[in-house]
Subunit: 232 residues, 2 copies
C-alpha cells in the first residue's frame, strides 16, 4: 500500500541518490570497462548534468571505491557456520575470484587499493579462518596478509588479462598466442618461461588459483599436525 501512495509524485520521481549513482556506475563499468566510467556518461545515464553527481559523491575516487566495495561486499558473504577453515578460506578466495571474473575492473581496483573498506572485508574473512585454523596469535597477521596479498595479486593479473583479451578473442586462443610468444624468447635469458610455456593453454585459471591458495595454506599450517614430539 505504500507502493500505491508513491504514484502521487509521478513527475520527477527517481531522485538522485548515492545508491542510484553507484549502481549506475557499476553498470557503466561492466558495460564499457574501466575507461567507461565518465561523469558525463554517468550523468547522461542518470538524466542530469555532471555537476549533480558531485552533490552526492565527493569525486571519482570515492565513486570507484564505493562501486568496488558494493561488488566485494556481495561477493564475500560470511562463511556458513560449521565450515572447515580451509574450505572457508577457499570460499572467500573464490568469491573474490568470481567477482573479478564478472567485473574485471574490480580486480584492477583491488590491486591498487590501500587497506580500506573493500580490502578490509576480505582481510577480515581470511583472518577469521586463519584464527580458526589454530594459527598462534603472533603470526595471524602475517598469515592473513599472505593470503590477502596473493588474492589481490591474482586480482590485478586477471584484470590485466581481461584488458588484453578484450579484442573479442577467444580465451584459449589468447593463451595459445601467449604460449607461442613465450617460446620465442631468448633461451639464454628465459629458460624457465620457455619450458612452462606449453602448460599455458591447458591451465584452468580457477584451479591454478586455488592451488596457490592451498600452497599458502600448507605453509600456514601443515595438513595433519603430528603430535608434538616429547620436547627437545
Amino acid at each position: 500500500m505504500a507502493a500505491t501512495r508513491t504514484r502521487r509524485t509521478e513527475r520527477r520521481e527517481n531522485p538522485l541518490s548515492r545508491e542510484r549513482i553507484v549502481e549506475a556506475a557499476i553498470e557503466l563499468l561492466d558495460a564499457a570497462g574501466e575507461g567507461g566510467l565518465t561523469f558525463r556518461a554517468l550523468a547522461e545515464r542518470l538524466a542530469t548534468g555532471p555537476g549533480a553527481i558531485y552533490w552526492h559523491v565527493t569525486g571519482k575516487d570515492e565513486l570507484l571505491h564505493a562501486a568496488t566495495d558494493a561488488v566485494v561486499a556481495a561477493a564475500v558473504p560470511p562463511a556458513p557456520a560449521g565450515t572447515a577453515p580451509r574450505d572457508a578460506v577457499r570460499a572467500v578466495a573464490l568469491g573474490v575470484f568470481d567477482a573479478i571474473d564478472a567485473h574485471p575492473w574490480v580486480g584492477a581496483q583491488l590491486a591498487r587499493s590501500a587497506m580500506d573498506a573493500p580490502i578490509l572485508r576480505i582481510f577480515e574473512r581470511l583472518g577469521r579462518q586463519v584464527q580458526a585454523l589454530g594459527v598462534p596469535r603472533a603470526v595471524r597477521f602475517t598469515a592473513a596478509s599472505a593470503l590477502l596479498n596473493y588474492v589481490v595479486g591474482v586480482a590485478g593479473q586477471n584484470a590485466a588479462n581481461a584488458r588484453a583479451v578484450e579484442a573479442g578473442t577467444d580465451r584459449t586462443e589468447f593463451l595459445t598466442r601467449m604460449a607461442a610468444a613465450w617460446t620465442e624468447l631468448d633461451p639464454e635469458e628465459y629458460p624457465f618461461v620457455r619450458e612452462v610455456a606449453g602448460d599455458l593453454p591447458h591451465h584452468d585459471d580457477r584451479v591454478e588459483f586455488l592451488a596457490g591458495i592451498d600452497l599458502i595454506l600448507t605453509g600456514i599450517a601443515p595438513r595433519e599436525r603430528p603430535a608434538d614430539p616429547p620436547s627437545a
Copy 2:
C-alpha cells in the same frame, strides 16, 4: 678521442632518443609521482614539443611499460651462482620490494601488468629457483605463479600505501592512525581486524613481506625433506 670529435656538432647535441625519453620519464615519475608523467611536462624537460616524443614511443602506455621494465631489470639481477634456492627467491623478492620502495609507481604498474616483459623477468627468476628447489615439473608453474602473485600483490599494496602517506606524514604516525581507525570498526563485523590492529605500528614491512615469502616456500617444499618412506 671520440669525445673531442663530439664538440663539432655543439648546437643541437642531445638528440632525442627512446633511451633519453624513458630516463626522463623515470625521473619525472620519481619526483612527481604517478600523476607527474605528462607529455607536456616530459616535453618541457626534454626541451621539445609533446609531438616529438611520439616519434620514438607509440604512446603513454608504452612509455610507462618501458620505464617499469628499466627499473625492474635493474632491480632483479641474476642470482650469483651457488646461492641456495630459498635465498635466491628471497633475493629476487627483496629486489622487487626495494625497487618499489624507491619507485612506488613501479608497484602500481606491476600490479596492473599483464604477463609481459617486466613481470616475465620476475617470473623467470622465481621459476628457476623453484626448479632448483626440486619441485616436480608438473607443479612448477603453479609454485612460481604463487610466488609471483604474492610479490605483485604486495607491490600494489605498497604503492597504495605510498600514495596514502604522501601527505608528508611520518610512517609510524601513518600506521598508528590506521590502527586507531581499525579499532573503531564494528566489533560484530570486524573482530579479527580489530584484534590485530595493535600489531600494525610495530610491524616492519620488509620482515612481514619476507615472512609471507617463507610461508609460500614452506608450502612449495617442506623445509627438510624426510627420506622417502619405503613405498606404500
